[in-house]
Symmetry: C2
DNA sequence: CGTCATTCATAAGCTGGTGATATAAAAGGG
DNA sequence: CCCTTTTATATCACCAGCTTATGAATGACG
């Protein structure tokens, strides 16, 4: 009996390639003051505005106490801030600060520079192939984000 | 004054796309018994055979004591094993066990299944674009690996 | 062989996560 | 209107996996 979703050889090759590429990306921004989750959360706040704490922890894949602590840390470093929700006394609204935006931008620039260096080793054809695949990769990210809802 | 490596708009777009896609991949294999580094190390042992401990920690981006501890954990779980190097009494040779190979295979299968599901949402053209970009991604990984030497 | 280098292990401490539980506000039924 | 239940966040105790500093054992070599 086949599993519900049979995996083709092509898809297996994609998975294998992505597996290695993931490790490459992981090491491309070696060590900063921000954890992976911290950076990801800041990017989310930058990208889609303030959120309640309860809307943050699930999509980031961590528990609610972990997000409470993360926000506390970010607040202590001046990268994010807590605000009371006037319509709900229990809730807390988290938003990114200017310093937070700057931190995200810096991290992004460092990674882009390292990546750019690698990209220079590609032939024009390979470079074009990467560019051509970008919309598909974005679409995959969209799917994954939806599914997490 | 321009930085040594000026970054084109295209490369910035690639970096931006990769940034998001990285997060997608990160959440695609949610929670296993293996840490990211543990899984990566096992894959390395599987892919390129036994290694001395000192050859492992740098490419994995962790300190030597961290690798000692990681190998101890992997050994305790039966996924890897230590052997004495007959030619050097100080050295330790680490190799993957059958159980380790099975763990890697399982993890790979889980990720491949999740990814395959996402891939089904792509049009044939998008799917082909991803496949076409794979060699370039692999080359980027090779570059990054070299640079770490 | 005595000294220095290399290889791995150990120790102590930090960061970022977990589950269980506390606190406080909102919601809702009788 | 209470009283109970649910929801939103915080706190607590604990653990995994990393760090730096250091130790122990073997190898290399003048």
């Amino acid at each position: 009996m086949q599993p519900a979703t049979a995996i083709t050889d092509t898809d297996a090759a994609i998975a294998s390639g992505f597996e290695r590429f993931y490790e490459t990306l992981r090491r491309l921004t070696p060590r900063g003051p921000l954890s992976l989750t911290a950076a990801s959360t800041l990017r989310r706040l930058e990208r889609s505005g303030p959120h309640r704490l309860s809307e943050l922890y699930a999509p980031e894949g961590i528990s609610q106490p972990a997000m409470t602590q993360l926000v506390t840390r970010l607040e202590k470093e001046g990268l994010a801030e807590r605000t009371d929700d006037p319509t709900d006394g229990r809730a807390v609204v988290v938003s990114i600060t200017d310093a937070g935006r700057a931190a995200v931008a810096h991290r992004r620039a460092v990674r882009a520079a390292a990546l750019s260096e690698l990209l220079q080793g590609l032939t024009p054809e390979e470079h074009a192939a990467v560019v051509a695949a970008l919309p598909a990769l974005e679409k995959l990210s969209d799917f994954a984000a939806e599914r997490a809802t």
